[in-house]
């Protein structure tokens, strides 16, 4: 009986107590991360001067592209994670920050500026919020307010590939989705944010004939077209060169085509 009691005590000391301690440590560190994330999402009101901000951004920028990519692709709440890291670095530097929507945009702009990703300026005719940007390898969640008719610098992971961008109203209703490859570094929301959809057709070389659902369009590339939602087949032809793609467009969706004719 004594031997059994000794063995039981040994078992408790060796296996159970250490694991409880580890669990508590993990919980503590998770709580820290959680508070940092909460802090990021609540955007607490503290000021950060330009020098301090640029220092923090510089530190973040120095991280390798792979690291940034790994952080971004792990979770849809990637922005919060990045901001979490931002706060951690800031804490280490002994500085407290006031994160407004503009700061978040600046942060993203700077974050991508030093990487291989593409930064664009976004302009919306109405007040909206950018929700999510996805491309081939990355998915980034945002929650950035856009003022009506004011452009905002925003880093989005386009990386030369096709991407999709989702925007919502301030109340959270999805109002616009754009897909394709933007032809310029300035993305303008269409005015139709409710009923129709829009297709922007650019080609290389330009002045090619465009067909929508096999019906010839009256303007050659580079052009744009307001359409009803539904299935659209776009054919671009110039001499023997041709480009064809088909896509279903929903209400308020924008399809950006940047075709290289072969």
């Amino acid at each position: 009986m004594k031997t059994v009691r000794t063995l039981a005590c040994l078992f408790l000391f060796v296996f159970v107590f250490p694991s409880v301690n580890v669990g508590q440590d993990q919980a503590k560190s998770l709580k820290n991360v959680e508070s940092v994330l909460m802090c990021a999402s609540n955007k607490s009101k503290v000021t950060l001067d330009d020098t301090a901000r640029s220092q923090i951004l510089q530190q973040y920028r120095n991280a390798s592209y792979e690291t940034k990519k790994a952080v971004d692709s792990t979770t849809p709440e990637s922005l919060n994670k990045k901001l979490g890291a931002y706060f951690e670095i800031k804490k280490l530097s002994g500085i407290q920050a006031n994160l407004s929507d503009k700061d978040v945009a600046d942060f993203n702009w700077n974050f991508v500026h030093g990487s291989d990703l593409v930064s664009v300026r976004i302009i919306s005719p109405i007040a909206a919020r950018i929700q999510k940007v996805t491309s081939k390898d990355l998915s980034m969640s945002y929650n950035i307010a856009l003022e009506a008719n004011k452009d905002m610098a925003l880093a989005i992971p386009i990386n030369g590939e096709s991407f999709s961008l989702h925007a919502s109203t301030a109340k959270g209703n999805l109002i616009w989705t754009a897909t394709g490859v933007p032809s310029s570094k300035k993305i303008t929301f269409p005015s139709s944010l409710s009923k129709g959809c829009e297709i922007y057709v650019n080609s290389e070389p330009d002045k090619a004939i465009v067909y929508f659902n096999d019906k010839e369009y009256h303007w050659p590339t580079n052009t744009s077209s307001a359409r009803d939602p539904g299935k659209w087949k776009v054919t671009i032809k110039k001499g023997s060169l041709e480009w064809v793609q088909e896509r279903v467009l929903e209400k308020g969706e924008t399809w950006m085509i940047n075709a290289k004719l072969k």
Partner: protein, 166 residues
């Protein structure tokens, strides 16, 4: 040539032309691309003026079509005049005139709504778009045909032979 013979010829001609034009426009419309280029109207005063003038033109032709239709029916309802529609050919002419003016008004009605919805949802209007030209041309074609058959109907349905030389 007798007035009744003339009325018969006019009625057949009106039928053939109306059906022919309608079939042609219907076929043309089914093969038409309804897309419009996205042109920002906010930055161009000239484009805004052009659009306003275009809408005014559509509106005036539409209103005249409706007024002519009212005048045509006034001839029928008001018995104190000398317009009598009795024979089948006269009825035929009357129907074709009505249809021409109604189709002209219809083109205006649908075209106007279509353009307004494009402006509302896309802040754009492309006056060069085939669908815009189609509505405008269809309205004019039916309007001119309506006026022509209106005059012919009045001439051939009058109690007196207005075509006879005095």
């Amino acid at each position: 040539m007798k007035k009744s013979t003339l009325t018969n010829i006019a009625a057949v001609l009106a039928d053939v032309l109306f059906i022919g034009v309608t079939l042609f426009l219907f076929k043309y419309h089914s093969g038409l691309d309804t897309g419009m280029e996205i042109i920002n109207l906010n930055n161009s005063e000239a484009k805004r003026i052009a659009t306003t003038l275009f809408f005014s033109k559509l509106e005036s032709v539409g209103k005249i079509s409706l007024a002519l239709l009212g005048v045509l029916w006034a001839f029928i309802i008001y018995t104190g005049n000398r317009i009598n529609i009795r024979t089948m050919s006269q009825i035929n002419l009357f129907i074709v005139t009505n249809l021409c003016l109604l189709f002209s008004f219809g083109s205006y009605f649908w075209g106007y709504d279509f353009l307004l919805s494009r402006i509302f949802y896309h802040s754009t209007i492309d006056l060069e778009a085939p669908i815009v030209k189609f509505y405008s041309i269809a309205q004019l074609v039916y309007f001119i045909s309506g006026i022509f058959w209106f005059v012919i109907t009045i001439l051939l349905c009058h109690e007196k032979n207005l075509l006879q030389r005095r």
